[in-house]
């Protein structure tokens, strides 16, 4: 009996150390910190700088969320013309923020939401992210394969391919292929930015120079691209991702609403934590869906819940 007991303890310790025992859905602590900081609005871009998160909305607003002070402010972006809507949000340094106004203008914003500079773009742009002091652009490209992203200084004429992500030739019409080749990028507390295509359960992690590596993520449900395109509320394998300073990778996925859960609420139900190699460390179904990751450490993830509240989650 003692031998059996010792063997069980050793096996249990070994499983815990290698992480093998942690793959199954685990319990989650869900602590509402404050809010709501946002209504039922489309989020078109976000930036995280230390313990402050910035959100740009489809209604041309800029929301600043101070996670330490449990406080938020909201300003309207202006001046913008009546039919101009912003997409994307990027930061090239303290207080230096950029967005796309429509698809043909790069706009610099200050923290009060004032558009302080407008730079006309030669081609239609569909995405804007940041890598250090440079901006990362996605240009609308109907001719895959090509580098999906390019980096350069704001307003600079020269850009270089950034990250190894290449647009894919898929068996759909031109518009659908272009839509499935849209890139999302999450945020980082360090130097590795996670980016992904909407139909894939994998991330491309790129440093500021653009050097990158792909990691496949287990445990995230994937749906066929045509289903993704056809669904009103598509189950995206990855909705948002955050890389911590010590390279833990948090991923928010659509997942599935639990039985009795309200599937019409915006956001994802699955939160998972991986290591830098893409090995699943823990995964949990959230009690309520969340929309984006506002910040994270190795132990804790701060989420924007479906109803705009700020929530701390531990797996």
């Amino acid at each position: 009996m003692p031998r059996f007991l010792i063997r069980s303890v050793v096996l249990s310790a070994a499983l815990t150390m290698c992480g093998c025992a942690r793959h199954a859905d685990s319990a989650v602590s869900w602590a509402v910190r404050f809010g709501p900081v946002l209504g039922n609005e489309l989020i078109v871009g976000h930036v995280v700088a230390e313990r402050t998160a910035w959100l740009a909305t489809g209604g041309n607003a800029l929301v600043r969320i101070d996670l330490d002070a449990a406080h938020h402010t909201r300003v309207s972006l202006h001046p913008l013309s009546q039919d101009e809507h912003v997409w994307g949000l990027a930061s090239t340094g303290a207080g230096d923020m950029w967005t796309l106004a429509g698809r043909g203008t790069l706009a610099q914003l200050n923290e009060d939401g004032v558009v302080v500079r407008r730079i006309p773009l030669d081609e239609p742009h569909v995405g804007l992210f940041s890598a250090g002091r440079e901006l990362v652009f996605q240009v609308m490209d109907f001719k895959p394969p090509a580098f999906a992203l390019a980096a350069g200084p704001p307003g600079g004429a020269t850009r270089r391919p950034w990250s190894s992500m290449q647009t894919r030739n898929l068996p759909f019409n031109r518009g659908a292929v272009a839509a499935l080749n849209l890139v999302s990028c999450g945020t980082t507390a360090g130097a590795l930015t996670p980016c992904w295509f909407p139909d894939q359960a994998s991330l491309t992690l790129s440093d500021r120079s653009g050097a990158s590596r792909d990691i496949a993520l287990e445990g995230l449900p994937v749906v066929a691209p045509e289903v993704l395109l056809a669904a009103d509320n598509p189950r995206r394998p990855i909705r948002d991702a955050f890389v911590t300073k010590s390279h833990a990778v948090w991923v928010l996925g659509s997942g599935e609403a639990p039985a009795g859960g309200d599937s019409t609420r915006p956001g994802g139900w699955v939160l998972a934590k991986y290591d830098i190699e893409g090995r699943l460390f823990r995964r949990a179904r959230l009690p309520e869906p969340a929309r984006i990751v506002l910040g994270a450490t190795d132990d804790e993830c701060v989420l924007l819940a479906w109803d705009g509240r700020v929530v701390e989650v531990r797996l």
Partner: protein, 68 residues
Amino acid sequence: MRRWILLGILAIAAIPATALPTYAGCTTELADCYQRAANIDSFWYRWAAGLDCELDFVECTRVKLIGG
């Protein structure tokens, strides 16, 4: 009766302007846009209008595919 009409108007007004458009909405808009582009006489203007339709379609689907 008047009260119900007023409540209905208020309910529609409460729908946010940035509510997520559906894919069906994007597809319908694309078809309508192509229709308008097809009626343009000049080949190059028609081609450019068709391209604009596809850009609008991508922007429309972008909301649900990568919007937060």
